[in-house]
Symmetry: C2
Subunit: 193 residues, 2 copies
Amino acid sequence: MSPVYCALVHHPVVDRGGEEVTTSVTNLDVHDIARSARTYGLRGYFVVSPIEAQHPVVQRILDHWREGSGKKRFPERAEALSIVEIALSVDDAIARIEAREGRSPRLVVTSARSGVERTSYEMAAARFVQDPRPTLILFGTGHGLSDRLLWRADICLEPIHGPTDYNHLSVRAAAAITLDRLYGRESPRNDPI
Amino acid sequence: MSPVYCALVHHPVVDRGGEEVTTSVTNLDVHDIARSARTYGLRGYFVVSPIEAQHPVVQRILDHWREGSGKKRFPERAEALSIVEIALSVDDAIARIEAREGRSPRLVVTSARSGVERTSYEMAAARFVQDPRPTLILFGTGHGLSDRLLWRADICLEPIHGPTDYNHLSVRAAAAITLDRLYGRESPRNDPI
């Protein structure tokens, strides 16, 4: 598996009316997506926010669980949160991946909206194997990633649909399903990586 | 699709040491799993807690989002939460499904622990089609469903694994992935139900 990273983007995202906004970081987004990312073997999870005043809040969550009493009581939380980093922007995250991996990552975006040039999860997974450069998957808060980010993507994944027309999953659920569709294995004992 | 229900169980579940405990209801579990359940076409989502003092708290969350200002601002939340019910026990949920559907549901349990007689998601989905009786899928809070519930199940699903040995997903993520594996369709436009 080539190196995979994900980022939870708090800016630029859109609100209900399609206007570009910046959302607040929430505690459970940090935890839930870290645990999902760790389960599926991701190398890093960037919490992306341009609001520098929120960075110490995230850092305090990370410090609490990665050290001291949090780590003692819940060692598996410490393990999941060990892959979390704070970034000021998507470009900041890209630059750090490039510095670490020696190659810039392919940019994969997710959206609940349909549109042209959406790629199925199967096809995306096949492309990841064909070209093993690093991957950065972006998840949007609010009402989703801004078009500015969608336009930059190498791959735009299909919206997640069930057998209904309701597609308002939480970002925590959408991230978990996306990682499972791309990297999930039903029976690892029979199919070890 | 035959009628499917899920339940988030706060008792009987186990703690880290395997002791049977009762956990507290949390706001985001109600929201996230309701949104996932609605996405995948479930007919109902039971929040199961024997602590009657917590029922008005859940009811207040439901009332806020299903009516008045919450509904006005976030109509899709109202839609998801419309399928949520509070139940005192798993048997209470089973009885209500039986009263509504005219047949008792098959009981499907989920567990992060491996063990004998686990059923793959593919095989479970095939069995649901063969015998279209109602289905109730149980998700455990804390460190998972008590053995008392696992033993009663008609189907015990395989633990969710990625390509790592880390399996500490949040219950919100695990529920989303389970429903997607059982009822997800990549391209509903090509494969309508």
